[in-house]
Symmetry: C2
DNA sequence: AGCATACCCGACCTTTGTTGTCAAGATTGA
DNA sequence: TCAATCTTGACAACAAAGGTCGGGTATGCT
């Protein structure tokens, strides 16, 4: 039960872009350095974010990536969904309506996975990148007072 | 963000044992048939459950597996933990106290993963195998009335 | 022209999922 | 008691998916 590295790096990268929102395109190298991960891998994630319309890219010198919308309008869920697909703990929850699991009657776990799924979504679908920035700043302030 | 097959099969198997609690050892073949998965793979999961003290095993004819405690005293979380390790969405949440992530200050995701982790645990640590049985029976009753 | 940067693609390694093979222990029936 | 049979236990082999990296190409600024 892990968030894949895609999800983790993706959120971290989006967060980095959120901090720099409004400063123009940010090259991938900057993000990779800040988050200590390889440029090659990050590129693949940025491609997914671009295809999902979350970031835009600019080639050439002074190019890079930037968010297409204000950080307050992008939820963490959107980012995760873009890089690693739905945050559903078990595939049988995905199918529509009555045609879920082949063995609905014997699959006890569905009750559990459903509850977990609801819990996860209530977190990631309501929290935006702007909220993340705010929480981080609050945390830093409280640490200064120690 | 998936529960691995280990977790899913593990919970399903434990659930099957819970239904048969008190009837003596249940051979792995019965469980594998009921859940439609291979005996070989299930054996490996049962070995983990045994090492975790959740089930006991008896060899030879009339042997099999059974729960060591009443289904009401075994949480789903225990089972999942035994077969696939902690349900922590990101490893950096695991380390103790202040020594977590090497880059605590740059890791925005910790806020998110922490909230998700709390949500998941509140589900799986409170729900027991007996609760699962009860929920399933309730579901079946409501379907009869349709 | 030259440089900085995104973009595409393929190779490799690690982890997870899955199945099969053989050994070891316990019960049953003669 | 002995042998046949049922069952778990350990381990190896393989396939599939995810993660990681590097090289080469396209594009656009200066």
């Amino acid at each position: 039960m892990k968030v894949s590295t895609r999800g983790r790096y993706g959120v971290n990268a989006a967060f980095e872009l959120a901090i720099r929102f409004g400063e123009g395109p940010v090259p991938i190298k900057i993000i990779a350095d800040a988050q200590q991960l390889s440029e090659s891998y990050l590129e693949q994630l940025m491609a997914k974010l671009r295809k999902a319309g979350i970031v835009s890219s600019a080639r050439g010198a002074q190019g890079g990536y930037e968010l297409t919308r204000h950080p307050g309008e992008i939820t963490v869920g959107e980012v995760i969904y873009a890089v690693e697909g739905p945050m559903v703990p078990a595939d049988c929850l995905l199918q529509d309506g009555r045609h879920g699991c082949v063995r609905v009657d014997t699959c006890a776990g569905r009750i559990i996975w459903g509850k977990i799924y609801d819990g996860i979504r209530s977190v990631i679908d309501t929290m935006t990148l702007a909220d993340l920035i705010e929480e981080k700043e609050r945390k830093e302030r409280s640490e200064e007072n120690e």
